[in-house]
Subunit: 149 residues, 2 copies
Amino acid sequence: MRARDIAEDYPTVRMDDDALATAHLLAERRLAAIVVVDDRGMPVAVLPASQVLNFIIPNYVQRDPGLARVYDEKGAGELSAELRGRLVRDVLPREELRHVEVVNGAATPMEVAAVMARMHSPVVAVVEEQRMLGVVTVGSLLDHILPTA
Amino acid sequence: MRARDIAEDYPTVRMDDDALATAHLLAERRLAAIVVVDDRGMPVAVLPASQVLNFIIPNYVQRDPGLARVYDEKGAGELSAELRGRLVRDVLPREELRHVEVVNGAATPMEVAAVMARMHSPVVAVVEEQRMLGVVTVGSLLDHILPTA
């Protein structure tokens, strides 16, 4: 069994996709993260949903729970509106902090597991012949390598 | 709307629960993490599924992809067998590295969002009157605070 055999479809977005539409995709599919791909469809970053929150909530509010408390729902909606007209590239962390774990389709489950364990990553992209086959999630990987109960 | 209104049921385990059964729960439900509660049912830690991998894969294998490659499926199964007879408390990171984000049931969505954004956490436990009501996931929270597309 190789990574290509256990790779699953996973939603992706591009750098120039709309940030608000991307946030809605994360919300509707209840995703903790989404994979960002370049124009050739190769993975270039993972955008965690918590990073979208990080983008729309000012730092001084993040640091002061009391301040967060005074934002009512209307205030929250206004902050989220900050996403309007923005692109995925605007919401990503700055370039040196972006990363995505990638393995080749021929990787063994243990290689995938080693990457996940070392990087504390719940998802790894699987690529082969210059295209992304899908991802392996940590839940799926455990399902494949655990001994039966 | 308050945190208690958007808290959702979420699987929990206790410190003395079986580690292998917990890993199977993570695998079967495709969870990226599980909440660990104390004897009163109050959240004390989040156990990411990647931490389970971190526990079963020796550090020297994590650091050397070439070494990971030589583990065949039987080898992987043997490593996972390390979980047999272990408890959740054995698998958790050491005490000073454990953490769980907790908000009160009366917290506003913006307070929950501020905690998630600051801590880069995809899940926050909601507690009230000494019990855990459930969790708010980042996907669900975005669903509540985003303006319509």
